[in-house]
Symmetry: C2
């Protein structure tokens, strides 16, 4: 069991858990590494290597117990206490995110939203109270929030990140197309849709031209 687990492995464990949860709902009780691998779009060796991190063993003949493996990943990934999340920026994307995460994982839910727009402040959206920026330090402190989601315009992203970090947040999910400068003890994950779409466009074009060459 390695001391530190790579970012990529953590991401895949999250995916495995979701797949296992679906399998459990479908009534499945056992599965083999190659089955989970096929569902996750990775190799069986990759699945087994990832599972080494969490200290759960399968059986050579039955494979893994769907329920036990899912719970084992949960014990590894999740906080023993609930983790509250703050959302900053209740615009088009922010509202979609609130709708998406509403009632999804009780362990990791949005407990406060922040916006500068006075029209949104003090309203309750998707069951979440929207606060003004000034209230951020107190709310983050009192709710014990460690995780922030940034869905503000690009120009506001750095300052919103600074405020969150000063208030004690240690992880940021950033949707603004701006690389954030944060202290080394803060983890940042960027979701850069422009970059993702440009990647898809590039490789789509490449695949399309490969096709042409094949028909030669």
């Amino acid at each position: 069991m390695p001391a530190t687990v790579s970012e990529k492995t953590i991401g895949r464990l999250s995916l495995y858990r979701r797949l296992l949860y679906e399998l459990r709902n479908a009534g499945e009780e056992n599965l083999y590494s190659h089955q989970l691998a096929q569902m996750a779009g990775v190799t069986a060796a990759q699945v087994r290597r990832d599972l080494m991190s969490i200290g759960y063993s399968g059986s050579p003949t039955r494979g893994y117990d769907v329920r036990e493996l899912g719970e084992s990943i949960g014990r590894f990934l999740d906080s023993p206490t609930d983790q509250g999340v703050a959302l900053v920026g209740v615009g088009n994307l922010g509202r979609a995110i609130m709708a998406f995460f509403a009632g999804r994982r009780p362990h990791l839910r949005i407990v406060a939203a922040f916006d500068t727009d006075p029209y949104k402040v003090n309203r309750v959206i998707q069951g979440v109270r929207c606060y003004s920026l000034e209230q951020m330090p107190q709310v983050v402190e009192s709710e014990g929030i460690q995780v922030g989601i940034l869905a503000v315009p690009a120009v506001a992203a750095q300052s919103a990140a600074d405020t969150l970090v000063r208030a004690g947040v240690r992880g940021l999910l950033n949707f603004a197309p701006v690389p954030l400068r944060v202290p080394p003890d803060v983890y940042v994950e960027d979701i850069d849709m422009t970059m993702s779409l440009e990647k898809v466009a590039y490789f789509a074009r490449q695949r399309a031209s490969q096709k042409e060459l094949q028909t030669w």
Copy 2:
């Protein structure tokens, strides 16, 4: 100049270009690899290594020409002809995406939307016409669409992907939390927000506990 360029390099090139574009608007004319690196959050060696892919050389004393480098990346990344994109699923997320990409990059813009909801079909949203699913093959064909964005509910994602692929799409940007099964000549990029948020929560927790150990 390598024959094939890695996915990661393509992603970073897209990021570099955006930063260069902003620099140009700010009136900057030249910059060094370490400056671009600092802005992108990578090392200078990484920047120089990435730039080897595109066949543009800087000067040892002036560094890179901001405008020329940006254009050079553009020639490498972009299609010589415009690439149209299809959006499937005009819900909360789909509408946010339409608003976000509207008028952003003329080279790579959403030219058609698709939804099953009869209330949305035949409406124009953010300047984009919404079609029914039945019209997808014809529209994809006639618009020459190679790239699709999936923002439909999880249960509908695979079948929407199948329809797009059958119609000729070669790249998919998938927001549904479901791994897609596609032929090998189709490129898929997944944006899995649940996974991303769980990663952030995991590492935020880890950083927070490191902090505690430090104050020991």
